[in-house]
Symmetry: C2
Subunit: 231 residues, 2 copies
DNA sequence: CCAAAAGTGTTGAAATTACACCCATGT
DNA sequence: ACATGGGTGTAATTTCAACACTTTTGG
């Protein structure tokens, strides 16, 4: 006796396209931004979309995402994490295709600006995004939600800031992520209590006369991190 | 001028298999259990695996997962959530196949016991799982981790328990999830403070002479839930 | 009457929130 | 000398963690 299950197993199965789309966050001048791509070729020339690619047989989904990310920003070793799949049968009108969305955090001033522009990619304020193709706006919303969750138990800031940054900058970043004001005394107290920052003997005077101390992230501590990060 | 990006876009892309595997948790007699499947047909006859299926062109990944879940447990409307994809190019020795893992929480006594057994599915204590095929053990470990995270900010318990349950039962469930003892006074205080339980006028006398009050989950409150659930 | 599980309160420690003033310096 | 952003401390409140005894009842 064969059950449905067994028959099903032996039956020929369907192949489909697997794509990956990258939700790339950056932080610049106090504003949380997203890298979007203005399509310069058909299909949907002129429309905005996330940066993505089809996954090839010889590469993992992660590798595919890193491949496009490096292609467009010039960066390697970027923080990237899978968000979820977008897998409705009818999501792509052309052909059956599921997309594995991944979000990345990059330091905007480390990117290769020319390269980014040469691909038609643009940074947009997260609060004023254009309409994106397919379900890409959903992906962005979901990624933002995830970023907020993640920021609440891990110090994500450091991926988005340059190597040296000031406490007010870090605070601005958290304010941009959560879209709300944070008390500077409480913020500093909290962040310092984690013991993950090293104060440098340099000041950044670009935003005030007095200048603010620059800090770097103390990566030795990174692994011991399982404290709640309630900011 | 065409960039690599544009050429890449136009090039023929690769199709591959997409599968979904279900990490099905249940809770029975104080023990957190996983539903695994003993393969009764080739390939890998006799080996243990998760319950899964290839995704068909006409269905979403979610639908595919619900399809197998219903097929094997007889249950519909089960809580199920995507975990992540397992997507290494070489993960399946047969052919390129990525798997979207999903975890489900079911109430063991609602299942169709005969149906489960007729498919060769078995409940195993989460602490003593057999070796599973491919990367299925990784999936289970990742799902357990996720379940613990989720349980810390949402009352997952109710998916795993029958409609009526006692506080000591709910506590046992949390102890099984976290694999550690919880103080009964603190537990009760905390759970009650959320105001999500309704005490019924019935007692469960199966585990004590005195009997414990039965409660039901107050689903009206379910949506207002964004409190931290630190148990 | 007693064994076994159910049920209940308090206290000290720790974390969180709210809040206002002085400091350094380039102009 | 003053405007501007950088930097600091304290008290009230809330949350968390630790801890032990009484109640009920079937056998």
């Amino acid at each position: 006796m064969t059950t449905d299950w067994e028959k099903d197993w032996y039956k020929e199965h369907d192949k489909m396209y697997v794509a990956t789309d990258c939700i790339i966050f950056g932080f610049d001048k106090g504003i949380l931004k997203l890298l979007v791509f203005k399509r310069r070729v058909a299909p949907q020339k002129g429309a905005y979309s996330l940066i993505g690619s089809f996954v090839q047989l010889k590469e993992s989904v992660t590798e595919a995402a890193k491949r496009v990310l490096t292609e467009i920003t010039g960066l390697e070793n970027v923080f990237m994490e899978e968000l979820r799949t977008y897998n409705l049968a009818e999501r792509d009108p052309g052909y059956r295709c599921i997309s594995v969305a991944q979000y990345a955090l990059i330091s905007i001033d480390a990117q290769d600006k020319e390269l980014v522009e040469s691909h038609g990619a643009e940074w947009h304020d997260i609060r004023q995004l254009p309409a994106l193709v397919l379900d890409h706006n959903d992906m962005v919303n979901d990624a933002l939600k995830r970023l907020r969750e993640k920021a609440s138990y891990q110090p994500v800031g450091f991926e988005l800031l340059p190597d040296k940054f000031t406490i007010p900058q870090l605070q601005q970043l958290y304010e941009a992520i959560y879209q709300k004001e944070i008390d500077p005394r409480n913020f500093r107290k909290k962040i310092m209590s984690f013991d993950i920052l090293t104060r440098l003997d340099e000041k950044d005077k670009s935003t005030s006369k007095r200048g603010a101390y620059l800090y770097s992230f103390n990566s030795r501590q990174k692994l011991n991190f399982n404290t709640k990060f309630n900011i």
